[in-house]
Symmetry: C2
Subunit: 349 residues, 2 copies
């Protein structure tokens, strides 16, 4: 590997320049991705084709000075591999035609080993690995987040279905979470075997829960995954990301994860103070700042670098996935700002 | 006034039982409200009729043992009074046909005094006041939250329009916020003159901002309102509520507000520790817990009372408005739990 900054920062080692990558860096904001996307019938079909996924992963690396590649896939390939019918509908997002609502629905899930159904993911990692100059990041959704989609059936604003089940029959939800955490741990372990240098767990919906319920239904299953992975792969860094989880950073840092990814709401300097030296921190520019003026993009990018300060263990990133309508030239402004800031700091040192 | 617990708790005085009311306690989850609603052409027409608003406010008080009445209205009557065309569309929520996008759009707003256009609100307060045994709470949206609706034109998930304007032309947004904070302060002052015993500022969308932007664009205009109101009405308690603002409670408590309302994400015991003795706290049951089993409703209600502990200054409430499909009998379970808990504590003392 030519450029190892990302892994060094995850291990809180000194780096020559703050490493930088972007959530959803391969995707719709890039015209070359939109063109590539035409080669597949739909988004799920795209995810099933390693050749297309590899090309999508390489596109942002060709265009921008980035320090990591991330697996091109979707968190919902897991419930799909468990036999749930999944469609990505234009303008609607993902839809499961038969969401889980009862204990009987759980029994219908395929609970034998999933990895044969996910071979296309491992093939993508295997194929892309020799083409990279930067570390390769694998990922999965959190058990709670996958359960949310599997029970709601689609994106939701209020999450009435899963909360009704949670508050009427918590044991059904817990059974699903236990099942998911076992399979997700196994899935990430296979990603590591297929070449992932680090893995990230995306908990998109932990932030809708009360504090005790976050601990019980979102954090605990993630902690199980972290601990299981650490036994099998003690040297592979793990990043946790709970969107809207800014109030729970201390507990997240206690899971044994190596790094926390922060949404843009959380103040990075305060987060650094709160979690102490246990973990690296990744983030946290509001992705919509990339719609702003060049000056705004520069000042907010510098604000984040200044907020983190002199310590080791910062990975610059967005606080959420890059928005599909972002002008790519604004990404360049952000990256140039980070590079220039780090260069000036090196020269001053 | 027969029952003054709500105001006593807002002033952090001892009370015989924790006061309780619910955000959106008058509304669609009540069959009698759904019937009443038929008497108006649409929701905005309903808000314009003091007789209907008064009746809507009294309905939950007849059914439940509640300690406060809240003005029946909508935060968007202010932009409507400023001349913006507003419609509440079934299943879509509020829609402004011509949202604000430029500095010129600001000039088209009516910026003379708004109160003559809002006389129906003051008439509602005036008429309901003699019918109440409990304190009367007025309210307004926060400047940032109203600006969000006025610029987006409707409810939004990502808030691309206001963030694009914010990050391209912050001075346009600041001009709108200054205008709104002046008028909203005046509006709440008139509500107090018309009989409101306390007022609450609803900041539904402050929680989408980065920490420095929350301070500048959401908190600062609210602080201006609080300070202006305190000059005119030093004895009227003010409650601040930023949904998703759990990381900024200390700053919110420093505005001079008397109480903070908490969403359900925030841990009430930690909040109490963080804000110290400066403010009362209101909240914070997840409204969707009211879809749960009776045992779950009881245990979560008790959890909140226990989390707050022995100190003065707690108002039991939901962490957000009650959901339109909530079974009213579950509200009774919650209220009975709170009353019983407080009765047992009194007897033990």
């Amino acid at each position: 590997m030519v450029n190892n900054r990302f892994l060094q920062a995850l291990r809180r080692q000194p780096v020559d320049s703050t490493p930088l990558w972007m959530m959803r860096q391969a995707g719709r904001y890039l015209p070359e991705y939109r063109e590539l996307r035409q080669k597949a019938r739909d988004f799920l079909d795209f995810c099933h084709q390693p050749a297309l996924c590899v090309e999508a992963m390489l596109q942002p690396l060709r265009r921008f000075d980035l320090d990591a590649a991330i697996l091109f896939s979707d968190i919902l390939v897991i419930p799909h591999a468990m036999g749930m019918n999944l469609a990505f509908k234009e303008g609607e997002g993902p839809v499961f035609s038969s969401p889980i609502r009862t204990a009987d629905d759980l029994k219908a899930l395929k609970t034998d080993t999933l990895t044969p159904h996910l071979s296309y993911v491992f093939e993508t990692l295997d194929r892309v690995k020799p083409l990279l100059q930067v570390p390769l990041l694998g990922f999965a959704g959190s058990p709670w987040t996958l359960a949310t989609y599997m029970i709601e059936g689609r994106s939701s604003k209020l999450f009435r279905s899963i909360k009704t089940l949670l508050y009427q029959k918590p044991q059904v939800v817990e059974e699903l979470l236990a099942l998911l955490s076992t399979h997700l741990m196994d899935y990430l372990s296979h990603q590591i075997q297929a070449g992932a240098d680090a893995v990230m767990i995306f908990d998109s919906w932990g932030g809708i829960l009360t504090t005790p319920d976050y601990h019980r239904f979102s954090l605990k299953p993630m902690q199980r995954m972290v601990q299981g992975l650490k036994k099998r792969h003690p040297h592979t860094p793990i990043i946790l990301f709970t969107k809207g989880g800014g109030q729970w950073l201390e507990a997240m840092a206690n899971t044994g994860a190596d790094a926390l990814s922060l949404d843009w709401i959380t103040d990075l300097a305060q987060a650094r103070q709160r979690v102490g030296h246990r973990v690296a921190l990744q983030g946290n520019l509001d992705p919509l700042i990339l719609y702003g003026s060049p000056d705004t993009i520069r000042s907010h990018s510098r604000r984040i670098l200044e907020a983190y300060g002199e310590e080791t263990g910062h990975i610059f990133n967005l606080g959420h996935g890059i928005d599909p309508h972002t002008p790519p030239e604004n990404v360049t402004i952000m990256i140039d700002t980070v590079r220039e800031y780090c260069r000036n700091k090196r020269m001053a040192a």
